[in-house]
Symmetry: C2
């Protein structure tokens, strides 16, 4: 008997349902709703300075998203796909009368007492945040298009965390109100539509098991991008609370 | 006396007017309105197959423009600049009810008897066309942002050639009508606005003579992108008429 193992079960193309289940399993295992920092954030266990540190760092991610989506569009030969994907850029940057998601994020950082120029300069953000975010942009430039599309699929898991965040932060922090939560309320509507489109796209375009697994790995990668930002925040602003040189220092209150 | 020459006059920052004049001088010297192929095209000297070869190759350029502009947006940290520049992508790809410039271009290739799938596959295009077009996209990815913006400035020279083309082609070819010329009519309105924005941007952002000269060089580069496409067309379809292997072959009529 040969020592070479059968690989039939690990090389067969997944059905669309199996493929989707593999994607969703990544979320169940490692989406950042499970990160202890989010439990503190949503549970009202952080002070205003810690929430500000989170919002200021998360701005880097928000503001990179339209660059990431433009990077994807810049690679697409199919005009219909470009036409579909570009609305993500418009929703984040705003277009016409819509101020856009980044502007709504700055309403949050305003409410936390942060200066807009300082937030937008990103000089107070943790280096680990910047590295993670730019790794995401770079991933979308460099990976096969289907895999790049797959990396957006953490949006499948986003509505749940946004709901928890809206209710948890409104309930627990007196510096947070409905107006400030506008970003998340808007994403509750947009994210499921975008996620469905991307999920259908990869089901249609990942045509080998290797491509399907690369898509699952892309979602894992993206979860790491999100998770590592919270690790860095927790280390700098909670435990042990070692703020690296140059990073935002909350006023002690 | 030192042999080292004074460099004072070649290193001083140009005034905005001098800078603009240097940009415009590139157009006067080498914009593709001066190419003999365009004289033939606009003067009614080409047959339908030769016009079709031009339209089919030029499609590659048209369809690369939104990728090029998305590539630029993907590099921009300034949200206001992204919001401004993105409309170029929308205008080419279309958005909402607007079918967009590429769709209008396909109306032209339809009228020339070309199959849309064949045009959009780009398999019949000259390799030199594809190389030139992709060099442009790559330039926008890789050059400093101000220089990448400058490469769009051939739009300063475009309205003149579009006017010549509209009148010349309508007058000289029975297979061309107003509907088919819709692309160029639309660009008559859009291009001046876009060019003014880009010109003002580089005047504000090129802050050394070296940067100014790099911007002028970018316009020269872009003129080369356009000119080389016409050289290849002329060689393949006019004189000597050597169509390379695999490229579009007009039916002999």
């Amino acid at each position: 008997m040969s020592e070479r193992r059968s690989t039939a079960d690990t090389t067969a193309l997944w059905t669309p349902d199996e493929f989707e289940a593999a994607i969703r399993a990544v979320g169940a295992e490692r989406y950042h709703d499970k990160h202890p920092f989010h439990h503190l954030l949503h549970g009202g266990k952080l002070n205003k300075g810690q929430v500000a540190a989170w919002a200021l760092n998360r701005y880097c991610y928000q503001s990179a998203v339209p660059r990431k989506d433009a990077a994807l569009v810049s690679r697409v030969l199919d005009r219909q796909l470009r036409r579909e994907w570009i609305h993500r850029v418009l929703e984040h940057d705003g277009h016409g009368d819509d101020p856009g998601g980044i502007e709504r994020w700055l309403v949050l950082t305003d409410a936390l007492g942060l200066d807009r120029d300082y937030v937008q300069s990103m000089t107070g953000a943790l280096p680990a945040t910047r590295f993670a975010v730019e790794a995401y942009v770079r991933f979308v430039y460099e990976q096969p298009l289907t895999v790049a599309v797959a990396s957006s699929l953490t949006e499948l898991f986003a509505p749940k965390i946004h709901k928890e965040r809206i209710s948890g932060m409104l309930e627990n922090y007196d510096f947070i109100d409905d107006k400030v939560m506008a970003y998340f309320k808007k994403r509750l509507v947009q994210a499921p539509f975008d996620a469905d489109f991307a999920l259908n796209y990869i089901k249609d375009h990942a045509r080998t098991r290797d491509e399907q697994e690369a898509c699952v790995e892309a979602v894992r990668f993206k979860c790491n991008v999100l998770w590592s930002q919270l690790d860095a925040l927790h280390h700098a602003y909670v435990t042990p609370g070692w703020i690296p040189p140059g990073a935002y220092k909350p006023e002690t209150t």
